[in-house]
Amino acid sequence: MNRKDFMAKLEQLLRSIPAEERREALQYYEYYFDDAGAEHEEEVIQELGSPEKVATMIGADLKPGSEENGEFTEHGFTDERFEEKETPAMRGDHTKRGDRYSFHQEENQNRGYSGSYGYENGADRQAKPRTSKTLKVLLIVAIILVVSPVAVPVILGVAAVVFGLVVAAFVMFAAFVIAAVAVAVSGIAVVIAGMIASIGLPSALMTVGIGLLMFTLGAIATVATVKLCMVMYPAMVRIIVNICRIPFHGRKAVV
């Protein structure tokens, strides 16, 4: 097979993909042969494998849904393909086979690579049930309908409890601050009371002393509790935000 045969065969195999994609791919390989030079033509053809293989890879990447399932590695693509070709147990044509080799990309699009190396072996892939999408959606709707009378109140209840706990936590720390301020304020009140009440000098001095002591302790506690709030509130908000993110972004929380 020479370059011309190779390209002709490739063009024929790519007939099922959109015209623009076909043009792009063919153009790429034309340039590729050009750059490799006539002296490397043989080599390139050998390295590319077969037009079927090249076409399958191009097709696999264009398949709808190819971004959601499956993984591929350069070896998965190259070696397995040919191993599988010889396996009688493998059914299906090229396009079907291509379907299983696809890019794992759903997360890449949003946040870049997130460590989703994986390997599905041939047996697992074959065992995958071939359920249609509509059926799946119908089933999901049915499940929701059946479960919702119980699930909705339960979810609401859980949400209310969680909300209550969060509010309680916030209020608790706020209460600490208020208590500390109250102690300081009552200290001042006691000092004033000690000064204006006619209870004799020793008693008045003691009352004023106690008042001063209370005021000091209250002031220290106020500073301490405000500091505590400054530490705790942002931390709590972060934790809550991270928990809320989990359903949308997987487990990797941003701290």
């Binding site: 994609e21 340039y31 590319l48 990447d61 993984e71 070896h75 998965g76 794992h104 699009q109």
Partner: protein
């Protein structure tokens, strides 16, 4: 090679190779450069390049060379951002593996 190269890693390698050429580089050269690092089939690269192009991580333009056209690839701003992300992820990932290999799993 013993270890497989996942799609993300392949993307990262291709972006890194292309970003190394400020004037842009072309398919055949990219393939040769990538193959210098990892054992990847020649036919694997086109889908990767095409996808990166569609994701606007790479931009392409045709330029005359030696009396014929050549398609050049260049990393876009988005591609650079993506590459940097990959680099950071790879650093973390490889460090963890390294730690395990060297027996000192530090929490």
């Amino acid at each position: 090679m013993v270890f497989n190269t996942g799609a993300a890693l392949l993307d990262a390698i291709v972006l890194a190779v292309v970003s190394g050429e400020t004037e842009g580089t072309y398919g055949y050269k990219i393939t040769q450069d990538v193959r210098r690092a990892i054992d990847v089939s020649e036919s694997t690269l086109y889908p990767v390049l095409r996808r990166l192009q569609k994701d606007e991580c790479l931009e392409v333009y045709d330029r005359q060379f030696d009396g014929r056209n050549r398609r050049y690839y260049k990393v876009t701003e988005k591609g650079m951002a993506q590459l940097n992300l990959y680099k950071i992820e790879w650093k973390n990932y490889s460090k963890k593996i390294q730690d395990i290999f060297e027996g000192g799993v530090t929490a």
